[in-house]
């Protein structure tokens, strides 16, 4: 899925001028005349961000924002308005808007914020997908292997692990070898780093 900036505004001029602006920095855009049209085409995990106008007939920008957050709470929403007030801005930010920008705005600032929003969301999504990959690696481990990994990460020597788990040293060594193969690591340092990334490291 390609990164895209979604523009929801009832004013055709504003929609099309934004398109002109974003195309100048090679950002693809999709234009929507009202909130419902956008919601019909939106699903969680789409890369990009959305720019909304607050004052729109039918569903207004604030309601649309809520609806988007209900579908994907991390999707970046930039709210622009011609007549902003503090309570409205506060509400929008509390409800998780990425930014609240007053018209007329500095185009450069808007473009920056759009790019930041897109990157942050992209990073988040990447991070989320990496975390998912780690989890699947760790999920391969058997119960005994998990117990052995936990002891290893606490720096317990094999001899003591065997004693703690009431198994032979040889068995401990076999488990260690197996889990390292499963987690695709060769050294104990790699194992520790991977475990930290996956949040498996016990707190001291």
């Amino acid at each position: 899925m390609k990164t895209c900036v979604y523009i929801v505004d009832d004013d055709k001029q504003v929609r099309e001028s934004l398109e002109w602006l974003l195309e100048s920095i090679q950002l693809p855009t999709k234009l929507f005349e009202n909130g419902q049209d956008f919601l019909d085409n939106f699903s969680a995990g789409l890369p990009g961000c959305v720019i909304l106008d607050v004052r729109m007939p039918g569903m207004n920008g604030m309601d649309l924002h809520k609806s988007i957050k209900a579908i994907d709470e991390h999707f970046p929403v930039i709210i622009v308005t011609g007549h902003a007030d503090v309570p409205m801005a506060l509400r929008a930010m509390k409800e998780g808007a990425f930014d609240f920008i007053e018209k007329p705005y500095n185009d450069q600032h808007l473009l920056e914020r759009i790019q930041v929003a897109i990157h942050q969301y992209d990073d988040l999504q990447k991070k989320q997908s990496k975390g998912q990959a780690l989890n699947s690696l760790f999920n391969q481990l058997s119960k005994r292997e998990e117990q052995v990994l936990s002891e290893v990460l606490q720096g317990v020597p094999n001899k003591l692990i065997a004693k703690n788990l009431c198994i032979s040293i040889k068995t401990v060594e076999a488990h260690r070898s197996n889990l390292m193969t499963k987690l695709e690591v060769k050294t104990i340092t790699e194992l520790v780093r991977l475990s930290i990334e996956a949040g498996r490291c016990p707190n001291r």
């Binding site: 001029q13 001028s17 602006l21 920095i25 011609g82 007549h83 007329p104």
Partner: protein, 728 residues
């Protein structure tokens, strides 16, 4: 009879005359005795008059005159009574015509013996006695003869009278019917005597015989029950009480009448004398009366003249009042014109030479020197002005007096009359009339009232003018404030509208710049053109707002209402569009010239349409209709919204009344105030779909020629309209 009265008897056997009597009192004959004579049973018997057979002098009943006759008893039915009838029939009155009438009071055989012994000439006996005595040997046959014997078939006995029914048996009114029947049955079935005997007085019982002959006899002899009543005074009175009393009353009345007539007669005679006396006096009296009448007549004529004078005064007053009324309802005249007319009217009506209206100086109330008086209005000869001022100084009228003040100048022969006009209970003006002293008299009560009425009217006019001025100032101030206020409200609304094109323009320009940086030959014409369009749009919006905010002094001008309406709708177009509400305005192609303050009227339309948009729901229509009336143009602002609650219709125009959470609720109050300043009313009415506001404006013949500014505005408007259509 006592036994009957005591109801001791049930049945009576009696002679036929008694039977008739009882039957007349309610008894009933149930059987009659039968006798048998030589095999002939008969229910009848009779009487005979006998004399010696050898008496040749007596052969008929009339031969009995002057002879002595005997009978058993005057009450005996089968004897004297039967014969008496025959005597009467033959014209014989026994008491008078017979030599002697004897009653033996004994048996009839004694009569026979008396006849035989020549003691009497003739005797009366019952039929059959001779035959009985002859049969029993007591009498030699053919020694006696029956005078004027009658013969009847089936009745063989010798007799001189008619036949009458035999004795009979009767029951009484109280006798039980069953018993009567039983007795009758027994009687009829009783064994009868054998018929072989040649004669027998009793043979048996048979059905009751006809009693009519008996009744005839009794009636002829006036015997009971046909006895004539005794004629007594009491009986007469009982019989003829009514007639007698009537006669008595008549007699009385007649007597009284006669008495009265005679008295009247006497009186008449007296009257006649009196009349003669009066006739003599009458002549004198008539003369006297005539004199009195002519006096009364004079008074009446005077009265009529006075009344006519009053009527004339009243008529004049009425005419004056009528004139006054017409002046007061003249809508075309200004107040000053009306006052002029009124003063003229009053001057003519009060028959004065001139009228002046002076201001009373409020600086030094109470002092009425000429320097404090200012001529304001007059009617009549202006040359009186100096004279009036001069006399005013002399008169020194009291301004605080509510009375009509009078001043006479004997030297110049002038009369001044003054009345103070009070405004807000303060002396404000003098109304002065001047005229010839001798010509004019005091004002009548009616005229005084009229004058007071006029002064009150003038005063109320002055008060009204003052209020009107105050209201006008207030309206102008409020109008200015609210125009700014509305502009402020509008500006807030318009901020968004202006931001949009500005934002768009900035976007286009930024986009174009970025493109140029990357590639100096990039095609940015589209972006720049569009940004220019957007900027034009923004500037138009600002221009429109500025036009609106420009406040002018309220002035009456003629302008095209349709242009104004479209101008207002232009301002509201975006707002309406956002709510998806369609605005319908009259076409610009026709002119609709009206008179009024253009800016104010536009403000009213703006307010009304904004209200209509706010009241409407998505997809609604707000339309403005302009219709022609006579000399007027009617404007309707119609929406399809929720309408106005009936309870709120009264208060909707009040200041600070608002159904909205924003705004001060002044809009409609100001609209109404403005429309009222244009001599119309702002009306609200719920219709089928929503509600409508209506007002009228005076129509103008021509619109003011378009000024440069107007042309500019209208072209700008055209631009903005085309812009709008493009964007939408």
């Amino acid at each position: 009879m006592n036994a009957v009265e005591k109801q001791q008897l049930q049945f009576i056997i009696t002679s036929p005359n008694h039977i008739v009597n009882y039957v007349s009192k309610g008894a009933k004959s149930i059987a009659t005795l039968q006798s048998a004579y030589h095999n002939h049973p008969s229910q009848f018997f009779s009487a005979s008059v006998i004399t010696k057979a050898d008496n040749h002098f007596i052969n008929s009943l009339s031969d009995l005159r002057n002879n002595s006759v005997a009978a058993s008893s005057p009450f005996e039915f089968g004897g004297y009574q039967m014969m008496l009838r025959e005597f009467i029939r033959s014209g014989i009155t026994p008491e008078k015509d017979f030599f002697e009438l004897l009653f033996t009071n004994g048996s009839q055989t004694r009569i026979i013996n008396a006849v035989l012994h020549d003691e009497i000439d003739a005797g009366i006996i019952r039929s059959g006695l001779i035959e009985e005595m002859t049969q029993s040997g007591l009498l030699s046959p053919n020694t006696l003869k029956v005078i004027s014997p009658k013969s009847r078939s089936g009745f063989p006995l010798k007799h001189s009278s008619a036949l009458y029914a035999q004795w009979g048996i009767i029951n009484l009114p109280y006798t039980d019917v069953g018993l009567s029947r039983e007795v009758a049955a027994k009687l009829f079935t009783m064994p009868k005597s054998p018929l072989e005997l040649p004669y027998q007085s009793h043979y048996g019982w048979h059905f009751p015989a006809d009693l009519d002959t008996v009744r005839g006899l009794l009636r002829a002899l006036k015997l009971p029950p046909y006895t004539p009543h005794k004629i007594s005074l009491m009986a007469l009175w009982e019989e003829y009480a009514f007639e007698a009393s009537t006669v008595l009353v008549l007699i009385l009345v007649l007597t009284l009448s006669i008495a009265h007539v005679s008295r009247v007669n006497r009186k008449l005679a007296l009257s006649k004398q009196e009349l003669a006396k009066h006739r003599n006096n009458l002549g004198q009296e008539v003369i006297q009366q005539t004199q009195e009448l002519s006096l009364v007549n004079q008074i009446l004529e005077e009265d009529i003249r006075a009344r006519e004078a009053v009527e004339a005064t009243l008529r004049r007053s009425r005419e004056a009042l009528q004139g006054f009324y017409e002046i007061s309802i003249d809508y075309h005249a200004s107040y000053t014109e009306k006052v002029d007319k009124l003063i003229k009217l009053a001057c003519i009506h009060f028959q004065m030479d001139a009228t002046f209206l002076y201001n009373i100086s409020t600086a030094e109330p109470g002092i009425t020197g000429t320097e404090h008086l200012l001529l304001q209005s007059f009617y009549g000869d202006k040359s009186y002005e100096n004279e009036t001022l001069y006399n005013l100084k002399l008169a020194n009228f009291e301004p605080n007096s509510t009375q009509i003040q009078n001043h006479e100048n004997i030297h110049s022969n002038k009369r001044l009359q003054s009345i103070t006009i009070q405004v807000n209970e303060q002396p404000n003006r003098f109304l002065i009339f001047i005229g010839e002293r001798t010509k004019h008299t005091e004002l009548t009560d009616v005229d005084q009232e009229l004058l007071r009425l006029m002064t009150q009217w003038i005063a109320s006019g002055i008060e009204r003018q003052a209020i009107e001025e105050e209201r006008e100032n207030y309206r102008a101030q409020v109008g200015k404030i609210t125009r700014l206020f509305t502009a402020g409200e509008l500006a807030t609304g318009l901020a968004h509208e202006i931001n949009q094109p500005l934002t768009a323009a900035a976007n286009y320009i930024s986009g174009s710049l970025i493109r140029l940086k990357e590639d100096s030959s990039a095609n940015i014409e589209v972006g720049l053109t569009r940004s220019l369009d957007s900027l034009n749009l923004a500037s138009n919006i600002i221009k429109r707002l500025r036009e609106f905010v420009q406040t002018g002094i309220p002035q009456h001008q003629t302008f095209d209402l349709n242009v104004s309406i479209n101008r207002v709708l232009d301002i509201l177009m975006t707002e309406a569009h956002r709510q998806r509400i369609e605005l319908k305005a009259p076409s610009l192609s026709t002119e609709q010239c009206v008179m009024g303050d253009k800016i104010q009227i536009e403000q009213v339309i703006l307010n009304l349409v904004r209200n209509a948009i706010e009241a409407s729901t998505v997809g609604g229509i707000v339309s403005i209709e302009v219709t022609h009336l006579a000399h007027k143009v009617k404007v309707n602002v119609i929406d399809m919204g929720t309408g106005v609650d009936e309870t709120e219709i009264q208060s909707i125009f009040d200041a600070f009344h608002s159904s909205k959470t924003e705004g001060m609720g002044l809009g409609l109050a100001i609209c109404r105030s403005i429309i009222e300043a244009h001599h119309s009313t702002l009306q609200i009415q719920n219709n089928d779909l929503g509600c409508q506001f209506t007002f009228t404006l005076p129509q103008a013949k021509l619109c003011t020629p378009m000024t440069d500014q107007n042309i500019q505005t209208s072209s700008a408007k055209q631009d903005s309209l085309s812009e709008k259509s493009k964007v939408n």
